[in-house]
């Protein structure tokens, strides 16, 4: 059960600001600050500009971590507070931390590399070295929240958020933890930005998922963290569950390091697994949060998956990447929190900038304005570069047929 959510995003910090921005269809895509993006050929990103680490972290914490960890820890603190928990109540070996990312502390490594390149080995500051490593994201959070169980990073490219949350749910179902503070974080950084430009994947101005004239993705940054706990643990401490993590489908295309499989067999299977492991049929899905990156190949493949799963039924679908850009490792974690909002408030967030339907993506896209609708069970797609498919069902508490073992079969 998810009992608390925390988010650092380009459209708002914290649950309420984020929910309000989603419902308004606010765009967080702005000109990049901090490096000369224009010189790289693109100028826009979903950069988090309102985040001041000092507002969320102590001076000592800020000193020992880079921006990615700062955002992750801030989101974790918000989630723990939202869950009505404290480090004292969470302290112990039955609390774990599982965090997804693609590049983790990218700014720390950039500083180290630049010092090395400019001044040779003697230019590298010894004290900076231990601050590098994606391993550190959950370590910093565990220190702050009292977790003494598994501390794990799952680097899974742009599916990392779902990987982390899905594995955290498995960890609880397997009886290996009572509480898992889980989610993902990613920071915007120059090398990554130029890499996406070089892959010719970046749109110049906007990200328009499923639109006929879509021109690619816009990259972004942020963090989304949730407190996930067993039903029994939540009940014991009187916490109100916000949503339940249902089945998790995981497959690998094993096809190409950046292109999706043209037949989308792996991603279709991942969706099917997520639904079957929830003990439901596709008919039960009310809304789909799309991976929807805005690239030609991804959106077409995802549309095919939706047709294969739902047939003629047009399930409302939306991509928040139109508002936030693609926050990469963090994307599906932030989007999971948007799914929690949908379940709690019956609001489907819009795909903004949606102008011209694409016959190849013949979907019921929630265009430009949020839509009210039934929201008992939703699907969160994450179909990443490298063919990493990770799809999760989220539902209102106690809606999915109980109880399930790890395979999704009735226990």
């Amino acid at each position: 059960m998810i009992t608390g959510v925390g988010v650092v995003s380009s459209i708002g910090l914290g649950r309420e600001a984020f929910y309000a921005a989603l419902a308004e269809g606010k765009s967080g895509i702005t000109p990049v600050e901090g490096f000369d993006a224009a010189a790289l050929g693109r100028e826009y990103a979903g950069q988090v500009k309102a985040f001041n680490p000092k507002d969320h972290l102590t001076a000592a914490e800020n000193r020992r971590m880079g921006r990615c960890s700062q955002m992750a820890l801030a989101a974790a603190r918000m989630a723990i507070e939202d869950a009505g928990a404290t480090p004292e109540t969470l302290r112990g070996p039955r609390t774990a931390v599982v965090i997804g990312t693609t590049m983790g502390e990218a700014d720390v490594l950039e500083d180290l590399d630049h010092a090395w390149i400019a001044r040779g080995p003697s230019g590298v500051k010894r004290a900076m070295i231990p601050k590098y490593g994606s391993t550190l994201l959950p370590i910093h959070i565990a220190r702050a929240c009292g977790a003494e169980g598994l501390v794990l990073t799952l680097p899974a490219a742009c599916a990392a958020g779902n990987y982390a949350i899905g594995f955290a749910a498995d960890l609880i179902r397997a009886g290996r933890a009572d509480v898992v503070v889980t989610g993902a974080a990613e920071m915007l950084q120059e090398l990554q930005f130029s890499g996406f430009v070089r892959l010719a994947a970046m749109s110049p101005l906007r990200c328009q998922p499923f639109d006929l004239n879509r021109q690619g993705l816009i990259i972004g940054e942020g963090a989304g963290v949730v407190v996930l706990e067993s039903e029994a643990h939540a009940a014991k401490r009187g916490a109100e569950p916000l949503a339940e993590i249902g089945g998790h489908g995981m497959t690998c295309d094993a096809y190409h390091i950046t292109r999706p499989h043209p037949e989308a067999t792996g991603s279709t299977l991942a969706v099917r697994q997520a639904i079957e492991r929830s003990g439901i049929s596709p008919d039960a899905i009310d809304f789909v949060n799309a991976h929807g990156t805005g690239t030609r190949a991804n959106d077409a493949a995802e549309a095919k998956v939706m047709r294969d799963i739902f047939g003629d039924r047009r399930v409302p679908i939306s991509s928040m990447k139109s508002m936030l850009g693609h926050t990469m490792g963090a994307a599906s974690a932030i989007e999971a929190i948007a799914c929690v909002m949908t379940l709690q408030r019956g609001i489907y967030p819009p795909t903004i900038g949606y102008e011209t339907p694409d016959p190849e993506c013949d979907l019921d896209v929630v265009a430009n304005e949020a839509r009210a609708g039934r929201a008992e069970v939703v699907l969160n797609n994450s179909l990443a570069f490298g063919g990493y498919n990770s799809v999760i069902v989220l539902a209102k508490p106690f809606v999915l047929p109980p109880p399930h073992d790890l395979t999704g079969k009735a226990a």
């Binding site: 000193r63 590049m103 390149i117 370590i139 220190r143 899974a156 497959t251 190409h256 570069f385």
Partner: protein, 394 residues
């Protein structure tokens, strides 16, 4: 935990490249500790200390052919080779084709601590010295830590889950706990489980600057060193359920029967690096409990002792706390070097050799029995994280 079976090994490390039999033979023949060799994967002439244990004469072409290697980084090549060998060793593939299993039921769960370091550093160098617009897009995917296992899936047609885990030195063992859960959830029938880490100048420089490298470049007889000898390599073990191994008549090398992990934060707010005796003891106790094994039943510890004095002292004290001062503690890193995210998996692979009758060496403490039935594998992280698993005779 429900015991999981190890039915194949693929390794590439200082002892060579190959499957279970090659590893066991190399362990038997190796001089312990293994002498350091000059570094070849980068120009190390500007460093005073070049004690290291690279994969000797690593030739990916020999295993993978000529095509498609250009864009792969060193870690990816090590992993693909280890995966290919492991699949054959486990009897899942013969002459490159699936035998009893199919790709959609085989997955990979693989740790690395600094997997993308070499790729990011190389591209940062191009961006800084030339122009960011010149970075090679074909090499950009290597900047994510999961790209190595991603390529393994593509090369070897592994279409069930593909999971990269990162928990510093402990990731190589955590990969086993993750794979156990994935098997329980029936997400795959077989999972290549383990880790990889590649030698790179950036990694070497980091350890050098931290003053962690062995200044003498030599080792004492016990295998205890005056600092770390950086190693590299990949170890991927085929993990599966007893039912699946039985159904396909697989050769069983060992059983993984228990897992434990623990994290204890440093007391000082300003500290980042810490080695925790309490966390290590707790991880060992939970692994033994999980396996239903009494401390007295542990024949030998496949330890993480690495030559950092404070870390080694912490680990030995924790082992002493739980298993007493007489238990045999072996030091696989004296043969393989410090392979970080792969270290735990190397420790498990070596443990399979001891179960198969290879005498543990070198041993830093105690005396290993002639016949080894139960091995505890430990990994101590740099940040208060620790993991342990129990590996037993099949």
């Amino acid at each position: 935990m429900t015991p999981r079976l190890i039915t194949g090994i693929g390794f590439a490390n200082a002892l060579g490249v190959g499957g279970a039999d090659a590893l066991f033979a190399a362990m038997r023949d190796a001089e312990a500790p293994l002498p350091s060799r000059p570094l070849v994967s980068f120009d190390a002439s500007k460093y005073a200390n070049v004690a290291a244990l690279e994969v000797p004469d690593f030739e990916p072409k020999k295993w993978l052919g000529d095509k498609g290697l250009r864009v792969l980084d060193r870690l990816t090549k090590l992993l693909v080779v280890a995966a290919r060998v492991s699949l054959a060793d486990a009897g899942l593939k013969a002459d490159g084709a699936w035998t009893t299993s199919a790709g959609d039921r085989v997955g990979i769960c693989c740790s690395n601590a600094y997997g993308s370091l070499e790729a990011i550093t190389e591209l940062n160098r191009v961006a800084k010295l030339e122009d960011a617009r010149y970075i090679n897009p074909a090499k950009f995917p290597n900047t994510v830590a999961n790209s190595g296992p991603g390529y393994v899936s593509i090369w070897e047609d592994l279409r069930a889950l593909n999971v990269t885990v990162s928990d510093g030195n402990c990731g190589g063992l955590d990969a086993f706990t993750c794979a156990d859960i994935f098997l329980e959830a029936q997400r795959a029938d077989q999972i290549l489980t383990g880790g990889g880490e590649a030698m790179s100048e950036a990694l070497y420089l980091a350890f050098c600057k931290l003053g962690a490298l062995d200044p003498t470049a030599t080792t004492a007889e016990t295998g205890a060193t005056n600092g770390v000898r950086l190693g590299e390599g990949a170890a991927l073990l085929c993990l599966e359920t007893a039912r699946s191994a039985e159904a396909r008549g697989a050769r069983v090398l060992a059983r993984v029967t228990g897992f434990g992990t623990s994290f204890v934060a440093p007391e000082a707010d300003s500290s980042l690096l810490t080695f925790s005796r309490e966390a290590t003891a707790r991880a060992i106790r939970s692994a033994l409990d999980d396996a239903g094994v009494a401390p007295a039943d542990v024949d030998v510890v496949s330890s993480g002792l690495c030559g950092i004095e404070a870390l080694d002292r912490t680990e030995l004290s924790a082992i002493d706390d739980v298993l007493g001062p007489d238990v045999a503690v072996a030091t696989p890193k004296a043969l393989i070097g410090e392979t970080l995210g792969a270290g735990g998996a190397m420790g498990v692979a070596v443990a399979c050799g001891w179960l198969a009758g290879v005498q543990p060496k070198p041993v830093a403490q105690g005396k290993a029995p002639e016949k080894v039935d139960t091995v505890l594998v430990t990994s101590v992280g740099y940040y208060g994280n620790t993991s342990a698993i129990v590996v037993q005779r099949a």
